[in-house]
């Protein structure tokens, strides 16, 4: 092989390999959208599909059930949000098919007005579809004036169709500061507007 041809071949190989390196660096970042795409195509229940399924209201059942299910409440706050956020009750014993309410206390530690958004998740995830929320502060973004405190209600019912092997479940909320302006929520997802106007029921 003459030197010029060899130099040309070397250059071509170097370029191809460099493209491969850049491609694999991008592949690391493309993994998340690719994974979502794979789940949509194959119908695997990905995390995002699970939480989307949660918002769709199941037809309400009025059968009551004698089972006692333990439901635990858990909260965490992202460091970008200067809030304290706790459930007033850490756990409840509930009958499937019956309506319950739990209040969550939130306090803005800063002096400025701050908006937060709560993201729910249920463990075990198989129980997600059987937890019906009739009213939840997580449907909307919540704005608290500087130093203000508020009690935010969650009204929920566990469906009697809950599989018998599930005897306890955990509902956990991550509260964070949304970084995009609030989207227009579909009306059926937002039956109540702000927590200040929410009716408080004893129970």
């Amino acid at each position: 092989m003459n030197p010029a041809a060899q130099a040309r071949n070397k250059r071509r190989t170097v370029w191809l390999l460099s493209l491969l390196v850049l491609g694999m660096f991008g592949f690391g970042f493309a993994l998340m959208p690719l994974y979502d795409l794979l789940c949509q195509v194959t119908g695997i229940q990905s995390v995002s599909l699970r939480s989307a399924g949660e918002a769709v209201a199941e037809p309400l059942s009025i059968r009551e059930d004698s089972r006692l299910i333990t439901i635990k409440f858990d909260t965490s706050v992202h460091p970008n949000l200067p809030w304290d956020f706790q459930p007033l009750e850490r756990h409840l014993q509930v009958h499937p098919g019956k309506l319950y309410q739990v209040n969550f206390a939130a306090r803005n530690r800063s002096s400025a007005s701050v908006t937060g958004q709560a993201i729910p998740s249920v463990a075990p995830w198989q129980a997600t579809a059987f937890l019906n929320k009739l009213e939840c502060f997580c449907f909307n973004r919540q704005t608290l004036a500087g130093g203000a405190s508020v009690e935010m209600p969650l009204r929920f019912m566990i469906s009697p169709d809950l599989p018998p092997e599930i005897r306890s479940l955990t509902l956990s909320y991550s509260l964070m500061k949304p970084e995009t302006p609030a989207p227009e929520l579909a009306p059926e997802l937002a039956p109540e507007s702000a927590p200040e106007s929410a009716r408080h029921e004893k129970g």
Binding site: P3, L17, M32, H78
Partner: protein, 536 residues
């Protein structure tokens, strides 16, 4: 292209520099290979020192020498120094020295890039050591107590030493990607006329597969640690559940790199064995084509089984079954390699010089480590063994024989070629026996500890584990200090000794044995002619 062609037409346009300029500005593959090997030796001793401290602490239950954060910092530091500082540069050193000699090329394809990819390493090594040292200074933040896997959320919370580590990983990654590009370009474009790919020596084949693996996986790790850096400082939430991210994502990114990485460490040593065993069995390698096929299969399947490191994250049954079956399938091509080695030795006229002693020991101990790997691949069993000392015993049994001892075999095999002097065979054998005895004494008891329930990465342990830990720590001291003997042998061989012939070993075959020992500064300026029978 006129300016480049003038350079190519005049390979001797520069005088060979001397003194420190010879090394700092070197574009000579032999000098850069030597630099890589010396760097690896230095890192081997630093990583070894941290291992000695770990075993000294575990000699007795309770907390004697270290505090828990320092212990975990040492665990992190030991792994990173050994993998990125010692084994990978040592293998790259062998590649630099031997690949041009073996394929009849005058040098690597991109000599200046070769210089760059080595000289990034001392900077990266300094960053790596700083990541260990910085917390001891005022305002240095907390120690890196995550282990080498750097799992968030803990790694997001560690102080600034984690930033040093992230940049060290970036630099090490750039260095090994550049070296890999160089090796692939050399192997694909600079073989002597008549040397087809299927006549290439096996060591070159192992490095071709290794370099492709590195190019495919190192950028993904770089992406992962970049996300970590952004989560730490720029308010993103790739791995923070409270911000909509997922810590498990990091585990996937890490092990997408981390699992092929074990083949990156293993394959160059398999390449060394494929030369050592035929030389001392005085028979050609059995099954050249099947070796090539097996290592390509190992590389390919090895890319898609990473999640067997994460069985406990709660994957679906389908996913864990896939990763389990894929992992167990890898034992088929690896088994094929082992059987090829045994078949090469079968009815050979064997002699047991130091490289061959290491080769035989590797086959035994690596097979053992491979079998405990099959145990760990089985999902229900792994749920028991996960994060126990059994895992530590397993990966030291594959990485130490599979990578480190293979490199030792290569160093003893080629040291007479590099220096022109025979090493002291008596001392070499003594080193082998002390080294291998110490190794087995250290790591064999850890299988029992793990099965009995001792967790890894914890400074303290239950008193019921004391006896095996005492044995393990004594073995570790023998093993660790035996490397001073290696250092002595290498220095002694460099300084003098019985002159080596150009063939060195009676049964040695291949182009690298046709140049003088030590080879002149420039070799194969006119490419050799490949005779028909000269393959492998």
């Amino acid at each position: 292209m006129s300016h480049t062609s003038t350079l190519h037409d005049a390979p001797h346009h520069h005088a060979n520099p001397t003194g420190w300029r010879r090394w700092l500005f070197s574009t000579n593959h032999k000098d850069i290979g030597t630099l890589y090997l010396l760097f690896a030796l230095a890192m081997l001793f630093m990583g070894g020192a941290s291992a000695m401290l770990i075993r000294a602490e575990l000699f007795q239950p309770g907390i004697q020498l270290l505090d828990p954060d320092l212990y975990n910092n040492l665990v992190t530091n030991h792994a990173l120094l050994m993998i990125f500082g010692a084994v990978m540069p040592a293998a790259a050193g062998l590649a630099n020295w031997m690949i041009p000699l073996m394929i009849g090329a005058p040098d690597m394809a991109l000599p200046r890039m070769n210089n760059l990819s080595f000289w990034i390493l001392p900077a990266a090594g300094t960053m790596l050591i700083l990541s260990f040292v910085v917390p001891f200074f005022p305002g240095g933040g907390s120690q890196i107590n995550t282990g080498w896997t750097l799992y968030p959320p803990l790694s997001v919370q560690v102080g600034m030493s984690m930033d040093f580590l992230i940049f060290a990983i970036h630099l090490l990654g750039i260095s090994s990607v550049l070296a890999s590009i160089n090796i692939i370009v050399t192997l694909l474009n600079m073989r002597a006329p008549g040397m087809t790919l299927m006549k290439m020596p096996i060591f070159c084949w192992t490095w071709l597969v290794t370099a492709f693996l590195l190019i495919l996986v190192v950028p993904v790790l770089a992406g992962g640690v970049t996300m970590l850096l952004f989560d730490r400082h720029f308010g993103t939430s790739f791995f923070d559940a409270a911000g909509g991210g997922d810590p498990v994502l990091f585990q996937h990114l890490f092990w997408f790199f981390g699992h092929p990485e074990v083949y990156v460490l293993l394959l160059p040593s398999i390449g060394v064995l494929s030369h050592v065993i035929p030389t001392f069995a005085r028979k050609p390698l059995f099954g050249y084509k099947s070796m090539v096929g097996a290592m390509i299969a190992v590389g390919t399947i090895g890319m898609v089984v990473w999640a067997h490191h994460q069985y406990t994250i709660g994957m679906s049954l389908g996913a864990v079954s896939y990763f389990m079956i894929g992992t167990i399938i890898i034992s088929i091509p690896v088994g094929l390699m082992i059987f090829n080695f045994i078949a090469t030795m079968w009815r050979g006229a064997m002699t047991f010089e130091t490289p061959m002693l290491f080769a035989v020991a590797i086959i035994l101990m690596f097979t053992f480590g491979g079998l405990s790997g099959v145990m760990l691949a089985v999902v229900p069993a792994d749920m028991q063994y996960h994060d126990s000392m059994f895992v530590v015993a397993h990966f030291h049994y594959v990485l130490m024989p599979g990578a480190v001892f293979g490199l030792f075999a290569g160093v003893f095999y080629w040291l007479p070629k590099w220096t022109g002097h025979m090493y002291d065979e008596r001392l070499g054998k003594l080193f082998f026996w002390i080294n291998v005895t110490g190794f087995n004494l250290t790591f064999f008891p850890q299988h029992f500890l793990g099965l009995a329930g001792m967790p890894r990465r914890i400074i303290d342990y239950n008193v019921m584990f004391t006896e095996f830990n005492v044995i393990s720590s004594i073995g570790a001291m023998i093993f660790g200090f035996s490397h001073l003997l290696l250092l002595y042998i290498v220095i002694k061989t460099i300084r003098g000794g019985e002159p080596a012939t150009s063939r060195v070993w009676e049964g040695a075959r291949g182009l690298e044995w046709e140049v003088a020992s030590p080879p002149p500064f420039h070799t194969w300026e006119t490419p050799p002619l490949i005779r028909q029978e000269q393959s492998a």
